[in-house]
């Protein structure tokens, strides 16, 4: 569900309230990603809201087959963000769950369906929002960078195939003067994360992750980034076990040129 031209037309040039959906992985494992997102969004003149009642988007329940639980969680999320004009999510996976899948939790044309469908229209993945609706400029601190950073961008399956995001994050990274993008030799294959999949089918997932890790290491990049923390912690877990210490960061940290937070 890529962003449509109509959407692009309606959002530009207005001061709107933007809700920030932290995602449970960012909340729990890398809060710095969230703060960097806020830092960047604040420079764009939006009024940012972070509802404190938010938790998870419900995807683990949805993918495990518990549709009722997923729906209960989805309704809570919709309620938490009801005053927002747009909701920005630093994860293609959670954004796809809310933008593409929430509507399937209710019967077609029911009141709940309409509710989910109106909510879905407000959901944007962070880099897609930043690229299409904002005027992102690299932070001034980038000017002090003396060496070129060779970054490999990993396409998360949800960003790439469910939201049609391919160019936005790359175009944003290219705005950074000290960044040079390196391409993956097998960019469209899954890293083996898949949420519960990587625990439930850990042996299969490991095979996928190891292949991904090999491609990344072969690229000779000095830093790995992505729109999704899930993929990054999965690849990081694989690389760290192998003793590799490649720098791994969520794209928000790179775009904010945050060097104080530790690599994943």
């Amino acid at each position: 569900m890529p962003i449509t031209t109509q959407e692009k037309r309606t959002i530009k040039g207005t001061k709107k309230q933007v809700g920030f959906f932290v995602t449970c992985l960012v909340d729990f494992l890398r809060p710095s990603v969230g703060f960097n997102c806020l830092k960047i969004l604040e420079t764009q003149g939006f009024e940012i809201v972070v509802p404190l009642t938010q938790s998870c988007c419900g995807q683990p329940a949805y993918n495990s087959g518990d549709k009722n639980l997923a729906k209960t969680i989805a309704l809570q999320i919709v309620d938490s963000f009801n005053q927002c004009d747009y909701i920005v999510v630093p994860s293609g996976s959670c954004a796809a769950m809310m933008r593409k899948h929430y509507t399937s939790l209710a019967k077609h044309s029911s009141t709940q369906y309409e509710l989910f469908s109106a909510f879905a229209k407000k959901i944007y993945e962070f880099t897609d929002f930043l690229y299409h609706f904002c005027n992102y400029q690299h932070p001034p601190s980038c000017a002090n960078e003396t060496s070129v950073k060779h970054i490999i961008f990993h396409d998360s399956c949800s960003s790439l195939r469910e939201l049609g995001i391919k160019d936005s994050p790359r175009k944003l990274l290219q705005k950074l003067p000290h960044v040079s993008l390196v391409e993956n030799s097998d960019p469209e294959s899954c890293c083996g994360f898949g949420g519960v999949f990587c625990v439930k089918f850990s042996d299969i997932s490991a095979k996928m992750s190891q292949e991904k890790a090999t491609h990344i290491l072969n690229s000779k990049a000095s830093c790995l980034t992505s729109t999704d923390l899930g993929c990054l912690i999965n690849i990081a877990g694989t690389l760290r076990k192998k003793g590799e210490n490649l720098e791994i960061r969520h794209i928000a940290e790179i775009l904010a040129n945050d060097k104080t937070s530790p690599s994943i």
């Binding site: 009642t53 990081a236 760290r240």
Partner: protein, 477 residues
């Protein structure tokens, strides 16, 4: 004999584990994976209208499925008109019995077979062997796995799981009494030997059995798409040709088939078109040079008609190209046998629970990271992840998940539903994980993670949660 065949059928986890440890299999899979992907990519880059052809194909298949009864009747009428017979089989047993009766009617003894996955679905070879027929598979891949007493591991490349070394062994054993003498240097030596053996089988066959890629209602024809020519020899040389096909193979007209053929070979093998595309219509006519005197079609339902008014109906659009498994990272990791279904890969995970029972097959739709590449490459745009997710929902509702899975899911659900509880749990677990990780930044063991930690570490939190810190900041403002 593959190790995998010794594992209980429905234990997907153990089968997958064995597959991952099978060095021959891994070698074979690594070799073919990129081959399939690159060939398809190259082929479709030469067809600018590929995506609109896909849309048209979807329309054709949807229309046909909406009027399947009508087209099946029209097909039957036209088969009869061209001198053939149509038999209707509700399930595997009935289909096997029908074929046995036809063979008995013509006093057949020797049977040749073209590659037919539907015949694998009904386990026809075992059945005919038991009845005392000499059955020979004539597709090279099928022939190899018949020698090795295996099932196909892929719907278009049945022996894709084997290395050349394993094939040499099988040929040495069956063609040369296991003597060490003959040496095969190249793949084409193996091919020549198979051709020599099979030539005799073709000439002495009483009955030829083929599948069908398509059945045309307008003309009563069956269409096969092959690369080796064995299908043609199977259906032309013997006196009797039996076609075994499932009901969703029906397509209204020749024009429709022409369109579907344009997307089939590029999606499957990356060819513009397959080497042979053969249309068979009824019995040999006086003006024909060759052809069978008897032409029978066995139409198999085996659970498909139940799908016609089911939300997962779209799975019946499948034209069996294999693109979904060729692009599936899970299939690449474990191959086809681990699925323990005639249909492996994403289409297998979506279709098998419907055909062979959810209880036997419920693990397949869970074995997916939902990367969505299958749906992306499917020429008839089957929403495979969606259908797999439906199966997961059904498995959950039917209580097929293990006690541990159910317990963890409910516990997690309970915590997430009450945000106060969620905050406390997250606060406590962050403290614990930071303690266990001992500032290393990652955790090396946790309960309920199974074999996860034998392959990976888990990144640990390094500070308080986002929400905790955010609240603190807001207070200070």
């Amino acid at each position: 004999m593959l190790l995998i065949n010794k594992i209980p059928k429905h234990n997907f986890h153990s089968r997958a584990y064995t597959a991952l440890k099978d060095t021959h299999l891994q070698q074979a899979l690594n070799k073919t994976k990129h081959n399939f992907i690159n060939k398809r990519k190259k082929a479709i880059s030469h067809i600018p209208a590929f995506d609109s052809l896909r849309d048209e194909a979807v329309n054709i298949k949807n229309h046909t499925l909406d009027h399947l009864g009508l087209y099946l009747e029209l097909y039957e009428e036209n088969v009869i008109k061209s001198g053939g017979h149509v038999h209707w089989a509700q399930d595997s047993q009935e289909a096997c019995n029908i074929i046995h009766n036809i063979c008995r009617q013509y006093n057949a003894k020797n049977i040749t077979k073209g590659k037919s996955i539907v015949s694998e679905e009904i386990e026809l070879n075992n059945f005919l062997d038991d009845k005392g027929y000499n059955v020979t598979e004539t597709d090279l891949g099928e022939y190899i796995i018949q020698l090795r007493k295996e099932k196909p591991s892929h719907i278009i490349a049945p022996a894709v799981h084997l290395t050349q070394e394993q094939i040499k062994q099988a040929f040495r054993f069956h063609h040369h009494n296991n003597s060490e003498a003959p040496v095969y240097n190249t793949a084409s030596d193996l091919l020549s030997e198979a051709r020599k053996v099979l030539r005799q089988k073709f000439l002495h066959a009483d009955v030829g059995i083929t599948g069908a890629n398509f059945l045309i209602a307008q003309t009563g024809s069956s269409v096969i798409v092959t690369n080796e020519g064995n299908g043609d020899l199977t259906q032309i040389l013997p006196k009797t040709h039996i076609v075994i096909a499932s009901i969703e193979k029906i397509v209204p007209t020749i024009a429709d088939v022409s369109l579907l053929l344009r997307i089939l070979a590029p999606s499957a093998t990356g060819q513009e078109t397959s080497v042979y595309t053969t249309f068979s219509t009824g019995v040999k006519k006086p003006t024909d040079l060759e052809g069978p005197s008897n032409y029978h079609v066995v139409l198999l339902d085996n659970g498909r008609s139940h799908l016609l008014d089911h939300p997962d109906k779209e799975v019946l659009r499948c034209i069996r190209c294999g693109a979904c498994m060729n692009h599936c990272p899970v299939y690449h990791a474990i191959g086809g046998h681990a699925y323990n279904s005639t249909y492996p890969g994403p289409i297998g995970a979506a279709l098998s629970p419907h055909l062979f029972g959810l209880k036997n097959m419920y693990q397949l739709p869970f074995a997916s990271s939902f990367c969505g590449r299958c749906e992306e490459v499917c020429p008839v745009r089957i929403p495979l992840p969606k259908i797999m997710r439906h199966a997961r929902q059904k498995a959950y509702a039917s209580n097929l998940l293990s006690f541990k899975e159910n317990f963890l899911l409910s516990l997690w659900g309970y915590i997430v539903k009450y945000h106060f509880l969620y905050r406390i749990t997250s606060y406590v677990s962050i403290k614990c994980l930071r303690l266990i990780s001992r500032q290393k930044g990652y955790v090396q063991w946790l309960p309920f993670f199974g074999t996860y930690f034998s392959h990976k570490y888990l990144v640990a939190p390094t500070q308080d949660s986002f929400i905790t810190q955010y609240k603190r900041q807001q207070k200070n403002i």
